[in-house]
Amino acid sequence: MAQQHVLLIEDEPNIAEAIRFILTRAGWRVSLHGDGSDALALIRDAAPDVLILDLMLPGRSGLEILADLRTDSALAALPVLMLTARGQGRDRDAAERAGASAFLAKPFANADVLDAVRRLAGGQV
């Protein structure tokens, strides 16, 4: 079985590095991207098994990207883990409405990220 692929779209390089380390160590293939404006095209090309998406991104917000994903028939079923640093209930609601499969507020426990990604990948298989 091929190594499962996680695409992480996150503009804070240190946070991205942390998540990359955690998932890679658990056996995932992780690719990183830090900008919102061209994220959608990248997601189409990469066709990841799980997408981790930050809510506040330079160029284009995570919510907009997610909304577009869900209208794309090829990507509509892609499991998406939404991250946000604002930590307000409103953001969780907005993410769920936009079609997020899971939601984590920053700062998070590393184990939670791993669990969420595993669950999302398992649900897909």
């Binding site: 590095e17 640093a85 700062p107």
Partner: protein
């Protein structure tokens, strides 16, 4: 006595009447009424009761029927002496309701029913037309008497032409003085004055003839009494039934004849005049009747048999060769006739115009909208036409009847006709249960019987009614014979008709009134009419049962508004344990209602209104003054309220603006908190994640060092952020402690450039300065100013996107202002972002590169504001350009606690 002198005197007299009327009218217009509205004039105007029929006819009546003529005077005398309170009530109602005629009185009382107005008008016209004809006939006859005396056989115009001239002249006079204006009170001062003069004239004439007869023709009082004893008049049997009937009908006529109602009620200027008239009018009647019997007796004795006794007043002086006395008598008769015709024409034309012509015209024109001015003109015109029509009908009647003997009895017939209004009138002012259905039924019944049993037969058998019907009744029904209704025969025809018409009239009126229910308007009017008179002057309390709850409710609705009034009444009724809207009108309730109304219209007005409805208190002049005072107060109060409400509106606008601002601020606060949360959580996320990694993992030393470095870096970022936030908070609240000092601007810039070189030290970056312009002292918090400079230079080092960054620092003095511009050679800040860069967290690019939270420029702006200066972005300079402005003489912000000390420093 030449006939032409008669004509000349007659014309002179008429011109005099015109003049008197004209002068009186002018005085009235100027408001100088004076004695024009004295009780004497009022009393004299009542004398139109004595028409030519009484002037000439009383003597004839006496010659034919003895003392019976007295009944004609007896009836009115009884009314004025014994029933003056009825008259007072009529006058009071007339003034209160602005009644314009007897038809208007009846119509108004029964809920402003126009049908009733029409019925009464038609009856009045029917009864009055022959009466007017009688007057024309009397004048024509008296002319004839003089013409017969003319030796040369003066070319007397035929009698019809004389009557026509008289009718035309009277129409002209009446139109001139009767329709001058449309006064609300319908008073005609000119006309009243002229008929008062005529009243004097006819009394003088009759007295003069009487004196001449008693002391000229006879030998004084004793001789006359002896002659009366010897004459057939003394033997004339008294018929008690006729006496009673005639007295009654003339008593009724004084109130119900249209012309009498006109002078008695409509032309009445002051209720108190009735008190004088109460004795003066009977006295006038007594004087008028004083010499009737002597003249009749002497006339019968001296004049040749077959002489018309109706004309004794004229023929006796003429026969004795007393031409001037005869002339005076002629003028007396002329006065009697003309005054009656004039007032009757005014009264009838008012009725015809108000109740028939105007409503008809308005109904026909209903489709097209007309302005009110038109209606006014229409009413005046229809009055004038009506006057012409009334006189034309009188003349026409005279012409058609050919001056027949039937006219002689027309006076009494008219009396009986007019008396038909009596039940509706008396019931209307004394009985609140009277309804318009009852009034209509009574009037129509009485009128029909009068026509059938009295008016039509008066033309004589074979006149307007066939002898067959007279003898056998219509269709041979015996009990319907006009002069023997219901089989009662042997009664005097006049009494017979009077009895049946009035009895059935009354019966119908009562029965139909009891069987029908008055409408709301009728109820109100009924209360206003019946209670117009019961007063308890000065009483402020309320007697029970004075007013109907319904009437009070209807009034209150107009003042308080329907819902409010109904709520109040319902509440009061509930308080009395009653359901519905109508509580008992206890004194307590009325007092509460008055207070309630007083809240809307003022106490005096409320009292006056309730007084009007309940009739339990009069509305005095003091009350009215109080009402006026209240109105002024209310006006003043409402002006104040208006001012207050304007002020309130302003306050409301201000509040609304403040509220909007608060809402906006609240939104901003939420956004700010969200931003802070994000800025704090981001470094904490890295710190937590790498801490966990360091704790869990077997990492190479190199990785461990790298991740520890990240934790350290993010921790410092967090600290910086907190410092910035605190700094900003202090600056924004203007609570910052400024350390004002003096420094050379050049040194400050150098210090900033050096400090900023730590930012991206690897960059190829040049700062260009013109030292010569930089040397000047600045009085300010130098550390803060340097902080601003550092921030601007660092930003340029961070964000200037030129390959080789160049920052130009230019210093300029503009008046009392110092300007320091920082211009780099990058692509600058996009136009739409220029307005945002000074906002908190307004980060335009990637955080990682900037390494700040986006608070720098916001802090700069706050610092400059605290220093009394400013910082702006200057567009169009090629690259990013910021301008720092600072006053050379440092202004002391009012919130600066160290301000006083600084002011001293500035003075140095």
């Amino acid at each position: 006595m030449p006939f032409n002198i008669l004509v000349a005197v007659c014309l002179t007299y008429v011109i005099l009447l015109f003049l008197v009327a004209f002068v009186a009218e002018r005085r009235a217009q100027r408001g100088r009424l004076g004695w024009l509205r004295s009780p004497l004039v009022y009393t004299l105007s009542l004398s139109i009761y004595c028409t030519a029929w009484t002037f000439y006819g009383a003597v004839g009546y006496a010659a034919r029927s003895g003392l019976e003529f007295m009944t004609i005077y007896l009836g009115p005398t009884l009314v004025f002496v014994g029933w003056w309170w009825v008259l007072r009530k009529l006058v009071r109602i007339g003034r209160a309701q602005r009644v314009t005629s007897i038809a208007d009185l009846i119509s108004s009382r029964y809920g402003k029913s126009n049908l009733l107005g029409v019925v009464v008008t038609l009856m009045a016209v029917a009864a009055s037309t022959p009466y007017i004809a009688l007057q024309l006939q009397s004048v024509t006859l008296s002319f004839g008497v003089f013409a017969a005396e003319t030796p040369e056989g003066w070319a007397l115009p035929d009698q019809g032409a004389t009557a026509l001239w008289i009718a035309g002249g009277l129409a002209l006079f009446t139109i001139l003085f009767g329709t001058r204006n449309l006064d609300a009170n319908e008073r005609h001062h000119g006309v009243v004055m002229a008929i008062a003069l005529e009243a004097v004239m006819k009394l003088l004439a009759l007295l003069a003839v009487g004196v001449f007869v008693v002391w000229g023709l006879a030998d004084g009082v004793g001789d006359v009494l002896a002659r009366i004893d010897a004459s057939p008049i003394a033997d004339w049997p008294l018929q008690p039934a006729r006496w009673a009937g005639l007295t009654f009908v003339s008593a009724a006529a004084i109130m119900t004849l249209p012309r009498m109602f006109q002078v008695l009620v409509v032309e009445n200027a002051d209720e108190r005049h009735l008190a004088t008239a109460g004795w003066a009018f009977p006295l006038y009647l007594m004087l008028m009747s004083l010499f009737v019997v002597p003249i009749a007796v002497v006339g019968l004795e001296l004049m040749p048999a077959g002489t018309n006794p109706d004309l004794f007043v004229l023929t006796l002086p003429l026969a004795a060769g007393k031409g001037k006395l005869a002339l005076l008598a002629f003028l007396g008769g002329f006065s009697s006739a003309t005054s009656m015709v004039i007032v009757a024409a005014i009264a009838l034309s008012t009725m015809v115009s108000n109740h028939i012509v105007t409503p008809l015209w308005l109904a026909l024109r209903q489709g097209s909208a007309r302005e009110p001015g038109d209606v006014r003109g229409l009413v005046l015109m229809s009055r004038r036409v009506s006057i012409g029509a009334v006189l034309a009908m009188g003349y026409g009647y005279y012409h058609l009847s050919g001056g027949s003997a039937a006219l002689a009895s027309i006076g009494l017939i008219a009396f009986v006709g007019a008396a038909q209004v009596l039940p509706a009138m008396m019931g209307g002012i004394f009985w609140r249960g009277a309804t318009h259905v009852g009034a209509t039924a009574g009037l129509l019944t009485g009128f029909a019987i009068w026509l059938y049993a009295l008016f039509l037969p008066s033309f004589g058998t074979g006149g307007l009614i066939s002898p067959h019907i007279m003898a056998d009744g219509p269709f041979g029904i015996g009990w319907l014979r006009p002069q023997a209704l219901f089989g009662i025969t042997g009664l005097d025809p006049l009494l017979h008709a009077m009895f049946w018409s009035l009895a059935l009239n009354l019966l119908a009126f009562v029965v139909f009134s009891l069987a029908s229910f008055p409408g709301p308007m009728e109820r109100l009017q009924g209360v206003a009419f019946v209670n117009v008179f019961d007063q308890a002057p000065g009483a402020r309390g309320w007697a029970r049962g004075g007013a109907e709850a319904e009437d009070l409710l209807s009034m209150s609705q107009r003042i308080l508004g329907t819902e409010e009034a109904q709520r109040f009444f319902q509440g009061q009724a509930a308080g009395q344990g009653k359901a519905g809207y109508l509580p008992d009108t206890t004194p307590d309730f009325i007092a509460r209602l008055e207070r309630q109304l007083a809240g809307s219209v003022g106490a005096a007005t409320a009292h006056a209104m309730i007084a009007q409805l309940s009739g339990s208190a009069s509305v005095s002049v003091q009350d009215l003054i109080a009402v006026a005072g209240e109105a002024a107060e209310i006006k003043e109060y409402s002006a104040q309220l208006e001012a207050k409400s304007e002020e309130l509106a302003r306050t409301a606008r201000a509040l609304s603006a403040a509220n909007e601002k608060l809402t906006e601020l609240s939104v901003q606060k939420d956004a700010f908190l969200g931003q802070i949360s994000h800025e704090l959580r981001t470094p904490m996320t890295s710190i937590r994640a790498f801490s966990e990694i360091l704790m869990e993992s077997d990492l190479s030393e190199q990785m461990r060092a790298k991740y520890a470095e990240i934790i350290h870096e993010e921790a410092r970022r967090l600290t910086r952020l907190l410092d910035d936030l605190l700094d900003l908070s202090v600056l924004e609240n203007r609570k910052v402690q400024l350390n004002i000092g003096v420094a050379n601007l050049h040194d400050l810039i150098s210090k900033a450039v050096t400090a900023a070189s730590n930012t991206r030290p690897e960059r190829n970056f040049v700062v260009q300065r013109d030292f010569s312009t930089e040397h000047m002292p600045v009085f300010t918090d130098t550390d803060r100013l340097v902080q601003v400079f550092i921030n601007l230079i660092s930003n340029s080092r961070k964000y200037c996107d030129a390959e080789r960054g160049v920052l130009r620092i230019e210093v300029k003095r503009r008046g009392q202002q110092l300007r320091v511009d920082f211009i780099d050679n990058g692509s600058g800040i996009p136009k739409k972002a220029q307005g945002l860069i000074f906002e908190k967290f307004a980060r335009l690019t990637d955080t990682s590169r900037a390494g700040g939270a986006g608070l720098g420029l916001a802090i700069c702006r706050e610092i400059m504001a605290n220093l009394g200066g400013d910082i702006d972005y200057v567009p169009g300079q090629g690259g990013a350009a910021f301008r720092v402005t600072l006053p050379l003489q440092r202004k002391v912000p009012p919130f600066d606690r160290s301000g006083a000390a600084q002011a001293d420093l500035n003075d140095l």
